[in-house]
């Protein structure tokens, strides 16, 4: 009996964790290239969720195409925020200003969505939510299978892109040393734009898949993003492998805390882990050597 519960919660944790990974990877990618934080990332998650909801209900092509729509909406938002906020502020060379500006964007987006969609939570049921596979006493809905498959594919694609393609290598070059990369004929502005588009597409897509799990209101993204920040730090800012590992760990912590302790304790456990990590290993799970110029 207990083994079944442990296994069941492991699957739930991995489902949740892989969604957190999608959201946190976006933050990490942007941080890796720009050393900046986009606070509106949370609202891209929410917007992706709403885009998927309305596409599914108004167009009626089913759930899978609506994930693609959320991805496109996210990508467009990424392009927009880079062009309107991060590019103009880059010249000012101040780490705080973009952070504050995106807090402003976040307030704006949340309240626009509140004006349009209202405060009452939306019930996001897909055609896959009710179909359940039973296997050795464990229940897995098709919805969860889709989440795991799509996230794993996306993460694998991203990994291959970063490690093996020219653009991916150029991206890593820019995140290591923007000036030198520029001297090597890489256009850093294009790559920064590309990073924002990819990161925000992941957020939008994550939103479409988180929506059935979350309480879908205009403020849904905030609870996710707070955990995503914790994941990014536990995994090491700017570190892709660390973020994936940390995301899965946080997902598992969440499902086991819900099962064996108290759902109210989730954030306390996650952030206690975060503070512990900062105390003993501030560079994250998988540390990357970075030189500091004095």
């Amino acid at each position: 009996m207990t083994t079944t519960i442990v296994l069941q919660q492991a699957i739930n944790g991995i489902v949740l964790g892989s969604l957190y990974v999608l959201v946190a990877l976006g933050l990490t990618l942007i941080y890796g290239v720009l050393v900046q934080i986009n606070f509106a990332h949370a609202d891209f998650v929410t917007l992706g969720a709403f885009a998927a909801y309305f596409f599914m209900h108004l167009v009626g092509l089913g759930y899978i195409p609506s994930i693609a729509v959320a991805l496109i909406v996210g990508a467009a938002m990424g392009w927009l925020i880079n062009a309107s906020i991060f590019t103009p502020l880059r010249r000012k060379n101040n780490e705080l200003l973009p952070l504050i500006a995106t807090i402003g964007v976040s307030v704006m987006m949340q309240n626009l969505m509140l004006a349009w969609f209202g405060p009452i939570p939306y019930a996001f049921e897909t055609e896959f939510s009710r179909h359940v596979i039973r296997f050795a006493g464990i229940f897995v809905s098709w919805q969860n299978v889709i989440i795991i498959v799509v996230s794993a594919l996306t993460i694998a694609l991203l990994y291959v892109f970063m490690k093996f393609t020219f653009l991916g290598k150029a991206l890593r070059a820019v995140s290591q040393d923007r000036e030198t990369a520029g001297l090597m004929g890489i256009n850093p502005n294009f790559l920064i734009m590309l990073t924002f588009v990819i990161a925000s597409a992941l957020a939008g897509m994550g939103g479409a898949m988180l929506a059935p799990v979350l309480v879908l209101t205009p403020f849904a993204g905030t609870s996710v993003i707070v955990k995503a920040f914790a994941i990014v730090i536990i995994g090491g800012f700017g570190n892709v492998e660390g973020t994936i590992l940390a995301g899965l760990i946080v997902g598992l912590i969440e499902s086991y805390t819900t099962q064996f302790l108290n759902p109210g304790l989730i954030d306390i456990v996650v952030f206690a882990l975060l503070l512990l990590m900062l105390a003993i290993r501030p560079t994250g799970l998988i540390s990357e050597r970075r030189e500091e110029n004095v």
Partner: protein, 337 residues
């Protein structure tokens, strides 16, 4: 001598000690007159909220603008001050002012503790650590139901006891005007304290650390100790704001101290002008009043608020202080022409 330098000296002169004294006199006069001009309950309530937010903003500005520590969790110290003082009053019947001191001390110690732990961290790591701290504090307030009553909140918190001298009531804090004078007076005192600190060798030390920590350390400055000190002072002031908030509103719910509150305080500092003490005062007043003035817009008021915040950062990154300086400079040029 170029005109700009000249103008800067003229502006610099305006902050000489005599001008500062005049400035404080004006501040006292403004504080005294405000509740007389705005004589309805609605605006007098807003005035007190402004004063509480001024306390929060100048405390955060000291941490952020002077000691260069990106604190995204100021709401935690605000909440700790509010809950510690209120719980002492409600559960242990501790007298108000004793509970006030305890709340301030607790918030200050919590800030010192977090900072002690976080001085090794820089920039965004500190930002996320402080954000994490604020999330933990909010969640504890929400989940420790036997102590805080969680989301149900604590109701019927009494205002501070009336000030009585020789049997005559001098100030009854059930009265909105008296309460405003109390908080605004405390805010003015805190401002005075911080402005003395900033202009003392302590302030110069903090500036040196903010500009270049390594160089400062090479001059024998113990950067870590000063940063911890600044964090402690700033969070103690937030604790005081929390005590006032609880006794003013009379109700405490954990959601008043959610992380979005920390972002609001940060916005006040940035819009006012980080690293100047007077800027965040105006930033706090503007960002408290603005959503009220925009109330007619209904759902869209916070959209306008967010847009305003974004535009300030994009086009006036130095905030209101920068804008005021620019206007002052232009006036000077016109005068000298």
């Amino acid at each position: 001598m170029s005109e700009t330098v000249f103008a800067q000296q003229w502006l610099g002169k305006a902050t000489s000690s005599r001008a500062r004294f005049l400035g404080y006199l004006t501040a006292v006069a403004v504080i005294v007159t405000l509740p007389l001009v705005f004589n309805d309950t609605y605006w007098r309530t807003n005035l007190t909220v402004c004063a509480i937010n001024v306390l929060l903003a100048i405390g955060l500005d000291f941490i952020l603008g002077y000691a260069g520590q990106l604190n995204l969790g100021h709401s935690a110290f605000y909440g700790l001050g509010a809950y510690v003082s209120t719980l002492l009053i409600v559960k242990l019947a501790v007298p108000f002012w004793l509970a006030f001191v305890a709340g301030v001390a607790f918030a200050g110690l919590a800030g010192t503790f977090l900072s002690l732990f976080a001085v090794r961290l820089r920039g965004h790591y500190l930002a996320i650590a402080s954000l994490g701290f604020a999330v933990i504090v909010h969640q504890i307030l929400l989940n420790w139901i036997s102590l805080t009553q969680g989301p149900l909140g604590i109701y019927g918190i009494a205002p501070p006891p009336a000030l009585v001298v020789d049997g005559t009531v001098i100030a009854d804090f059930r009265n909105l005007t008296a309460f405003f004078y109390l908080v605004a007076g405390f805010a003015l005192l805190s401002f005075l304290l911080l402005s003395q600190l900033v202009r003392s060798p302590v302030g110069e030390t903090l500036t040196a650390i903010r500009e270049d920590e390594v160089s400062a350390a090479s001059l024998g400055i113990n950067a870590a100790a000063w940063k911890v000190f600044a964090f402690g002072v700033g969070s103690a002031i937030a604790g005081a704001a929390g005590c006032f908030y609880a006794s003013f509103v009379g109700t405490l719910v954990p959601d008043a101290f959610f992380i979005t509150e920390a972002f609001n305080i940060l916005a006040m500092v940035i819009v006012g002008g980080m690293g100047t003490l007077i800027g965040p005062v105006f930033g706090a007043v503007l960002l408290t009043i603005l959503p009220e003035v925009l109330r007619g817009l209904g759902d869209l008021r916070l959209v306008v608020y967010g847009a305003a915040l974004t535009f300030v950062v994009l086009f006036i990154p130095g905030g209101m202080a920068q804008a005021a300086n620019a206007v002052g400079e232009r006036l000077w040029r016109r005068r000298s022409a």
